[in-house]
C-alpha cells in the first residue's frame, strides 16, 4: 500500500462525509456523530467498564456493524474515537473487526483512521484558511496560536491533534508543541472556564 495516496483518499472521503451530513464547522459534537452513525446504520455501545489503552473497537459480522467506545472518555476524545471507528466502517468493513489502542497505533490502517477522524472534524483546508486569517505563516505558530485557534473556532479537535497538524503542515517547527500544558496555557490566556469557577464558588458557599 502506498501510504500518501491512501491518506489523501481518506481525507477526501472525510470531506465527503462532512458534506453528506451537513457538517459545516470544525465544531463537531457527539450529537453530530450519533446522527452520522444512525445514518450509516452503525450501533454505538458505550462500554461502562474500565479500559486501559483500548479506546474503541469496530465489529461487523452477521450481527451488524457496532462500535464499542469507552463510556468514560471525555467529549473530545470520544468524538475523535467515533470518527476513527467510522473510517473502519467505511473503508475496512470487510475485516470483521478492529480494535484501536496504543499497541497498534503505527499500523497504516490505524494512522489512516486518525487522519480521517482529524479531517472529519476540522478539514486541513479550513485549518490553513484559519491560520491565514490569523496572520500565521509557516514556522510562526506558537503554542499560544493553537490556543487562540481553538478558542476562535470553538473546534472540538483536541489541542494535541491541532498541535500535531500545525507541525505536520510546517506552521510550527517539528516537536515544538509536544510538551505544552494546554489547559494551563488556555487558562492563562482566557481565564478559568465557567465550570471551574462554579465549582470553586460552590466550595466556598459550603465552607
Amino acid at each position: 500500500m502506498r501510504r500518501y495516496p491512501y491518506y489523501q483518499e481518506l481525507k477526501a472521503l472525510a470531506r465527503d462525509v462532512r458534506a453528506r451530513h451537513s457538517l459545516t464547522s470544525p465544531r463537531v459534537l457527539r450529537s453530530d456523530m450519533r446522527r452520522i452513525y444512525r445514518g450509516e446504520g452503525i450501533r454505538i455501545d458505550l462500554w461502562q467498564y474500565r479500559l486501559r489503552g483500548l479506546r474503541g473497537a469496530y465489529f461487523n459480522d452477521e450481527f451488524g456493524p457496532t462500535v464499542m467506545v469507552a463510556a468514560g472518555l471525555p467529549s473530545e476524545p470520544m468524538i475523535f474515537t467515533l470518527g476513527h471507528e467510522l473510517k473502519h466502517h467505511l473503508v475496512d468493513r470487510d475485516s470483521a473487526g478492529r480494535f484501536c489502542s496504543e499497541s497498534n497505533r503505527d499500523d497504516a490502517i490505524e494512522i489512516g483512521a486518525e487522519i480521517f477522524a482529524a479531517e472529519l472534524i476540522f478539514p486541513e483546508e479550513d485549518f490553513c484558511r484559519q491560520m491565514a486569517a490569523m496572520g500565521v505563516e509557516q514556522g510562526q505558530c506558537a503554542a499560544e496560536t493553537i490556543v487562540r485557534l481553538k478558542h476562535e473556532t470553538t473546534t472540538t479537535m483536541s489541542y494535541a491533534a491541532l498541535a500535531k497538524r500545525a507541525e505536520y503542515l510546517r506552521f510550527a517547527p517539528e516537536d515544538s508543541l509536544q510538551a505544552v500544558k494546554w489547559t494551563k496555557l488556555a487558562e492563562e490566556l482566557y481565564g478559568e472556564p465557567l465550570y471551574k469557577l462554579l465549582i470553586r464558588s460552590r466550595g466556598r458557599r459550603h465552607r
Binding site: 462500554w47 467498564y49 489503552g53 464499542m68 480494535f99 499497541s103
Partner: protein, 126 residues
C-alpha cells in the same frame, strides 16, 4: 425447557454452587445492583434478564456471558478469534474487555429480540 427457563436454571445453579457453599439471593442481588426478588424471578423465568444484567452476572461469577445459554453446535467464530489473536499486544485487562464485548454483542445478536429490557411476567391464561 424454553430459553429463559434454561437461563434461570443456570443462574440458580451458579448461585447455589458459588465458591462451594453458594451465595444467597440477597447477596447476589446486592452484588449486581438489583432487588432481591428480581434474582428469584430470574431464576423462575418470571422475569427476563437483559443482556446487560447477564453481563453483570457473568462478571460476578467470573464466567463468559455465553455460558448462560444452551451450548450450540456452532462454528467457532473465526473472525472474532482472529481479532482477539491480533489483539494479543493489548493490556491483558483490555483483552478481557474486548472478549466480553464480542460475547455481549453475540448474545444480543442471537437472543436480543427475546432479551428485552422490560420484565416479562408470565401470565396464566384464564
Amino acid at each position: 425447557m424454553d430459553l429463559f427457563e434454561h437461563v434461570g436454571a443456570r443462574i440458580r445453579e451458579l448461585r447455589t454452587k458459588y465458591a462451594g457453599a453458594g451465595i444467597s439471593q440477597e447477596a447476589l442481588a446486592k452484588a449486581v445492583g438489583v432487588a432481591t426478588n428480581t434474582i428469584s424471578r430470574w431464576e423462575t423465568a418470571t422475569y427476563r434478564p437483559t443482556v446487560e444484567d447477564l453481563d453483570k452476572l457473568a462478571r460476578f461469577f467470573g464466567i463468559s456471558i455465553l455460558e448462560f445459554f444452551p451450548r450450540e453446535e456452532e462454528k467457532e467464530d473465526s473472525d472474532i478469534a482472529a481479532l482477539l489473536r491480533a489483539a494479543r499486544k493489548l493490556d491483558p485487562r483490555d483483552l478481557v474487555e474486548l472478549r466480553r464485548y464480542a460475547e455481549f454483542r453475540r448474545v444480543r445478536g442471537l437472543y436480543g429480540g427475546e432479551l428485552r429490557g422490560k420484565p416479562g411476567r408470565k401470565r396464566k391464561v384464564p
